[in-house]
Amino acid sequence: MKSPRLIFMTAAVAALAAAGVTALLVNIFERKQEARETSFRVVELNDEIDDAAVWGKNFPFQYDSYLRTVDQTRTRYGGSEAIQRTPTGADPRSIVAQSRLEEDPRLKTMWNGYAFAVDFREERGHAYMLEDQTFTERQNVVTQPGTCMHCHASVYLPYKRLGRGDLIAGFEAMNKMPYKEARPLVEHPVTCIDCHDPSNMKLRVTRPGFIEGMREYKAAQGVPNYDVNASATHQEMRSFVCGQCHVEYYFKGSEKRLTYPWTKGLKADEILSYYEENGFKDWTHADTGAPALKAQHPEFEMWNQGIHAKSGVTCADCHMPYVRQGAMKVTDHHVRSPLLNINNSCQVCHNWPEQELLDRVHTIQDRTYKMRNTAMDALVELIGDLKLARSNGTSVTAVTAAQASQRRAQFLLDFIEAENSMGFHAPQEAMRILGLSIEHTRQGQRALLVR
C-alpha cells in the first residue's frame, strides 16, 4: 500500500521539477534569441513617405512609443490634464488641456490685446500639435499665416511639393498663405521623416527656420556658411532636431518669413536686444499702448545656458531616453517630461533615489515659480500705473519710456513663463532673466514718477 503512494508522490515532485527547469530553459532560450533579432525590414522606405504607420512597420517599438504621445499626464508645473468639453461644429475636440488663463488671470493682463489673452492652454503631446493649432480660438481672433505649419505639422513633404522639389521655396510659399489655405496641404503632426533620413535613419534637420537660424547664429560667431546637416555631430543632432521648433521665433516682414532671432546670441536679453534693434513688435498692448513682444517656448535656448548642455547632455537623453526591449536599446519616442520616467532619464547618470531626484527638480522649479510670480505682480502693477498715466496728464516722454520698459520686462518674464521647464533647463539663468525683468519694471515705474 505504501509504495504506490510513494511512487505517485515521487513522480509528481519530479514532474514539477522537470516542468520548472524546462520553463527556465525555454526562458533562457528566448532571452538568447532576443539578442539576435534587432531590426526588421518589412517595407522599403523612401523620402516620399511621411505616414508614420508605414515607417512603424520597420520600427514597431519606436512607433508604438511615438503613438503614446496622446497620453495626458500632469507634472507639478507642466504636462497637461484632459479636460472634457462639448464639441461644436467649429471645434470638434471633446478633450482639451486645462486653460492657463484661468489658472493665472494675470496672463490676460500681460497679453491684453493679443490673441493669447483669448485662448491659451497647457501644451499637449506631439500627437495633438496639428489639431490643437487648427482649433484654438486664437484662429478666430486673428488671421494666422501658413507659417505656423512649420512647427505644427509634418511639412517636409508639403514644402517640397509646393516648392517643386525645393524645400526653401516651398517654405517661402507656405509662409505667405493664410493659415486656412495652408491647412489642407498638410496631413500629419510631426512624423518620422521630419527628423530621420529614410535611407539610413540618421538624424537630420528638415525645418528651414532652424537651418537658417543656425546659419545666422554661427555666422555671427565667425563661422560662415554653416550647414547644420553637414557639420553637426550626432550628439548635437540629438538636440538640434528638437531645436527645429522648441525655440523663440518671429514672423519677419510682410512675407511672414519664420525667423529665429539669434544673431546676437541665444540668451533672453541678447534676443531682446535683437528685437530692440530691429523694432519688431507682436502687438500693441491694449491697456498701455506698449509695443509688446510675445516669447514662445524657448526650450532650446534655455537648455543651452544650463549645466546639462555644458555636459553634453541632449534633449533626447532626458526626454527620449533609452528603454530596453528584450536585448535591444530603443530610443523612447514617447516624448515627455523626464519627471514621469526618472529611472530611464535621470538615473542613467544620477545614482540617487527617484524621490530625491524629484525633490531636487521641484526645489528648482518652486523657487523659479515664486520669482516668476514676483516678476508678474510687479509687471501687472506697472501695466496698471501706465494705464492710469495715459489719462492723468503724465508727459508723453514719461509714458513712452515706461512703455519701452514694459516691453522689455514683459518679454523677459514671458521668456521664462513660456519656457517649458519652470527654470529647470538653466536655473540660475532663469533667475537672472527674472531679475532683469523686475529691474525693467522698476525702471518703468520710476519713469512715471516724473510727470
Partner: protein, 145 residues
C-alpha cells in the same frame, strides 16, 4: 521495493538531465569563475561590462574584485545570493531599465576599494580613511560614463 526505486531513478535522472542541460546551456559553470565576461552573459550587464572595459580599473580589477567581499565563503555567498536574485528578476522581467545597486551590494563595493588602496588612504586626510566612504566622490570609477 526495487521496482519503485527504478521509477524514482528514472524521474530523478530525467530532472538531472534537463537540469544539467539547462545549466550548461545557460553557461552555469562560468559563474563560478572570475571572468568578467560571465557577468555579461545576461545582456542587461552589457553596458556595465563595456564601461568597465573603458575604465582605469580594467587591467587591475575584475567584477569580483569590487563586487564580492574577501573570504572564500563570503565571496561565494554573495555570488549565490546575487546569482539567484539576478536570475529571478531577469526571468520575470520586473526590474528598472537603469538597474540600481542594492544597499548591501553598495557596501560590498564601497569596502572593496580598501582592498588595494588602504596603504595609501590610511595616511590621507579625514574622509579617505573611513571604510565605505570612497564612493561618495569616486562612485563612477569602475564604470565611467
Amino acid at each position: 521495493m526495487t521496482k519503485w526505486l527504478v521509477v524514482v531513478a528514472v524521474f530523478a535522472g530525467l530532472v538531472m538531465g534537463i537540469g544539467g542541460y539547462t545549466f550548461i546551456y545557460a553557461k552555469g559553470a562560468s559563474y563560478l569563475t572570475n571572468d568578467p565576461a560571465a557577468c555579461a552573459n545576461c545582456h542587461v550587464m552589457n553596458d556595465y561590462y563595456v564601461k568597465w572595459q573603458r575604465s582605469s580599473h580594467r587591467s587591475v580589477a575584475v567584477c569580483n574584485d569590487c563586487h564580492t567581499p574577501t573570504g572564500f565563503l563570503q565571496k561565494y555567498m554573495t555570488k549565490a545570493s546575487n546569482g539567484f536574485w539576478h536570475s529571478f528578476y531577469f526571468t520575470t522581467g520586473n526590474f528598472p531599465d537603469n538597474i540600481q545597486i542594492t544597499p548591501g551590494n553598495r557596501t560590498v563595493a564601497a569596502d572593496a576599494c580598501l582592498k588595494c588602496h588602504e596603504p595609501l588612504t590610511r595616511s590621507m586626510s579625514p574622509g579617505h580613511d573611513t571604510p565605505g566612504s570612497c564612493l561618495k566622490c569616486h562612485g563612477k570609477i569602475g564604470h565611467p560614463q
